[in-house]
Symmetry: C2
Subunit: 254 residues, 2 copies
Amino acid sequence: MKQPHGESVLSRATRILEAFTQDAPALAVSEIARRTGLHVATASRLVTELVAHGFLSRDDDRKVRIGVRLWELATRASPALSLRDAAMPFMEGVHDVVGHHVQLGVLDGDDVLFLERLSAPGAVVNYTRIAGRLPLHASSSGLVFLAHGSAELRERILVGPCTAYTSRTPVSPSRLRALLAEIRQQGYAYCPGYVHEDALGIAAPVRGDDGSVAAALAVIVPNDEHAHVVVPVVRTAALGISRALAVRGSTGHV
Amino acid sequence: MKQPHGESVLSRATRILEAFTQDAPALAVSEIARRTGLHVATASRLVTELVAHGFLSRDDDRKVRIGVRLWELATRASPALSLRDAAMPFMEGVHDVVGHHVQLGVLDGDDVLFLERLSAPGAVVNYTRIAGRLPLHASSSGLVFLAHGSAELRERILVGPCTAYTSRTPVSPSRLRALLAEIRQQGYAYCPGYVHEDALGIAAPVRGDDGSVAAALAVIVPNDEHAHVVVPVVRTAALGISRALAVRGSTGHV
């Protein structure tokens, strides 16, 4: 599997796929080489092979993008899709009633990875993106995972450094410990202005059939006195998704 | 890039990813070897490397699944996501009003590939799946692409063979030609019982800012006399998505 230069083809191919982001969805081969640190010739050869397999596609202007075939292979059998499928009817209901943003996240490493987001036109500011990530200490979804996660995860995150996005972001271990205890006790995370001053996140745990927290359901609404009424909506929907997962017998091993 | 046995690592890795389907999302390594025709030792080595890169993940029971990291890489910069994002508010509106199924498909090779599907509990039967495919001649979305696609695509599909899913499925070149002319003339495809006797598909073209058909928006409803009222809803939403794409300046090069 190893190449003469010591790095496997798959490892290089992964670096190439990682070069594409939501802000940079189309790249010239020279830009791919720059971002990955690969020689242009090597990048060019690998891009050609990735295009042949449909992992990448080439535009009319020779720019390269993620291929729809890669999306198809990654999605059709993904545990993320089955979890999202179970959650979607509940998310649509919440979105009809609350508006703004409704989102579903899973724990991946030390981040929340967002599987789905429903947004209304004119909704409050929200940094969440589908297939995007947020850190655990600052996002309502992340705090749900921290509150219910392993002691090892909690200690790793709490030692920091934890980025302060606003003056409200909890960053000190003592404040985070108190917050996590509160989230465990009350059953949801309530986060006014933690990621952006104008936005407020409310998240509740979605449990798999083994009782573990499989996902977090969250709404992002304006940071004002009306947000409190959303809490029971989010909690009810998260419990509904948990029951739907139990019926399917799939906890979504994401 | 070539291995001693003549097939590249990426080609073998692709075969492994292709072994996973919605019906078989979790596979033992021996099953992967069987499905791909790779030696068990080769499959095992490649699976280990794919797991290390997050393309695959291993369950507690040693079964292998598509990894959430692969989904993330394939999704976050995918043109499929930006097209889906533009369409989603319109699709939610249609789904609120019509119920059943609302879906968004793109042309990929000689199939429709479905990027998104919203479904209501108790909706009519529908073979569409997210990241699933349907043939062009039988599905309302596919017929929209055939009607507006290249002459080369049309001739390739019309020579057949075209599978008859029901007695209503159009399969003869003469019937298909008449149907495609009608779709071009009236601006939508109306397909009672083509894929399943009980279901009726209605699809309209979503155009990119260069005027080409970038996607097809479709609803699947019960095959009865009430379906006609849905036509203007689908057409209006498809035009709305086309305008939203023009504003974004992204035709979704999918």
